[in-house]
Subunit: 367 residues, 2 copies
């Protein structure tokens, strides 16, 4: 039962404080921003008067307009914001970015927008930011185009070669190749792939060679290429490998996809999950099928999210320095905003984290 004030007074502005004191707006402004420009006594009076008038401090938008700085950087993400928080990888990345922006005293604006409706394109246009970190977007995403039109400094993450902007990424192809080679080296010959989204036009289900070839998300593309290189390198038929595309990077989707892959004949002895989240889902699917990991089926993930080390069994995966990636991206953008010269592109190292979800296939010859 909050009481509505009958007379909703206009919020006081700098000028009101100035008039109340008989000084000019410039002086009040200086009281806030450049204390050395006025006597301590007057400054104190200004601050006291401001408080008593209920002046909420210099309006951030007016200040931003005048100074040409928003004091925040924007993060652009392919999916809905609410989803970004469900993805441990995105969360870690954001944490890294936040560390950098926080150190620079900048805010972090999460820009809403699934690339569905026209209205969403307004989001990056309206965002009061000094630059963007653009994370893992499809090159043909209209949201990306809208952000680029702002002509602000940008840093890309996991989008190598997409723009001439600086960015940070890992070598997804090499990572994927390494983990696939790990399985092949253990002797696995029947593999299944649990893939992330292939294109912004989402769908779940088995993906045929055509669809696989049409993958537009840079990360998905790169990892598929890595798997392919290892598989072809081992003399296996790439087109014979079943691929299940998950419309969403979630445990549930991973579980459903893995279930389907486990039903293909002959049953794969190892599953390549393109993310740990999908891998955790696969772990569950194997359990539900009454099989065990790694005795019956080996599972590998990708990303090395924190939970991967705590699953049962702990997940063999490709370690990626997410936090560092975010940190670097943030620092790059901060440096860009400061007008510093910048390195063009940073590629961070990955390494295979062998844990307990992989073993040689039952009664198989060692590779």
């Amino acid at each position: 039962m909050a009481v509505k004030r009958p007379f909703e007074a206009r919020r006081p502005s700098l000028k009101d404080v100035a008039e109340a004191l008989g000084v000019t707006a410039a002086t009040v402004s200086n009281a806030y921003n450049r204390p050395d420009q006025l006597s301590p006594a007057l400054r104190e009076r200004v601050l006291v008067t401001a408080r008593s008038l209920g002046y909420p401090g210099p309006n951030p938008m007016a200040r931003g307009l005048r100074r040409g700085r928003a004091g925040a950087i924007g993060v652009l993400y392919a999916d809905r914001l609410s989803y970004a928080f469900k993805d441990p990888v995105a969360v870690e990345l954001l944490s890294g970015i936040a560390t950098a922006t926080e150190a620079a005293g900048l805010g972090l604006l999460l820009v809403p927008g699934s690339p569905r409706t026209e209205r969403d394109l307004e989001a990056p246009r309206r965002a009061a930011v000094d630059g963007f970190v653009i994370y893992s977007m499809s090159p043909d995403d209209p949201l990306l185009a809208a952000a680029l039109e702002r002509r602000l400094p940008i840093v890309t993450v996991d989008m190598p070669g997409l723009t001439d902007a600086p960015g940070v990424a890992i070598d997804d192809t090499a990572g994927a190749r390494t983990v696939a080679e790990h399985l092949l080296g253990l002797g696995h010959r029947r593999l299944g792939i649990l893939s992330l989204e292939l294109t912004p036009a989402v769908r779940s289900g088995p993906a045929d060679a055509n669809r696989v070839a049409s993958a537009s998300y840079p990360v998905t593309r790169a990892r598929l290429r890595g798997y392919q290189a290892a598989i072809v390198g081992a003399g296996l038929d790439w087109d014979g490998i079943p691929v299940y595309e998950c419309a969403e990077n979630s445990i549930e989707e991973g579980c459903i996809g893995a279930e389907q892959l486990l039903n293909t004949e002959p049953r794969p002895t190892a599953l390549l999950a393109m993310s740990d989240t999908l891998g955790i889902g696969a772990l569950e699917a194997v359990r539900r099928a009454g099989l065990s990991v790694p005795a019956d089926v080996s599972i590998v993930g990708f990303d090395d999210i924190p939970e991967a080390a705590r699953t049962d069994p702990p997940l063999t995966t490709v370690h990626e320095p997410h936090l560092n990636k975010g940190l670097k991206a943030g620092e790059l953008l901060v440096a860009l905003l400061a007008g510093e010269a910048h390195p063009d592109f940073v590629t961070l190292p990955t390494h295979l984290a062998v844990r307990s979800s992989t073993a040689p296939p039952r009664a198989a010859p060692r590779g």
Copy 2:
């Protein structure tokens, strides 16, 4: 080696586009904001010219200033931003808030600021937002005061009764009491408490009765009260219960704290962790001590983060609707901004989620 343009041209503004076309700025503005105000042909010409001039679209800060709307809401959090992303509870809450703001077309600005230095107080002051969601802050936090001074609409989360602002919370005391009663009901008599931070002045270690009584974080206070009510209700001595305060809500801290609690004589048969994150750490500590859960030690958490259902063994805990809490908070703030009447305070229900980390103590009489 990005090439610096030798002559960094001023960014074109509305006026530049207008002049290039021989119309007024108003017309160009209308081309963007009110297409019905001009002929489709001219609008098209405006848009084309804008593009060819490299006009990045209406400046968000200028628009925001004029319209009196920032188009974003701020989130204020007690800790460092980077930390917020490490806390699954905060992440879920943010996800909920994001859902609401996204639906309203608003951005989400994460305001940096650990309450350390004077400089940090500038963050909430500089944030270009239309309102704040304030999450679980100590009432005496200067950051909170700084945000309040902005006199913007606010919604609190997990801070019942702290301001007269609308907010959302759960009944932490009842939840804590229920989970403690669950343990007592199983027959446990020797308990240990793994507590979250008691005050903004952080420290790790055993907390004596004085320090426990001085807890200022509303959530911590409330949960302690709940434990206390159950314990006292069971006829046990509250002051005899060892409490370990974790300076940070992390698995590592939980592990360290649990280790200490397990070393007290006589060893507790059950540990009350004030969060699932601490509980997961406790699980690890028990494992390291060569004991087993729940045979030797029962562990309960609080929060019911997603991972709690997947730990080994799955954690008995108090389920809290984090996502919903965020969603409600976001919706409340959006409604407030829209000038709608609002309910004052929402208290969301919790319930006990009994899983496999609790059992009667070994060879103990049933309670």
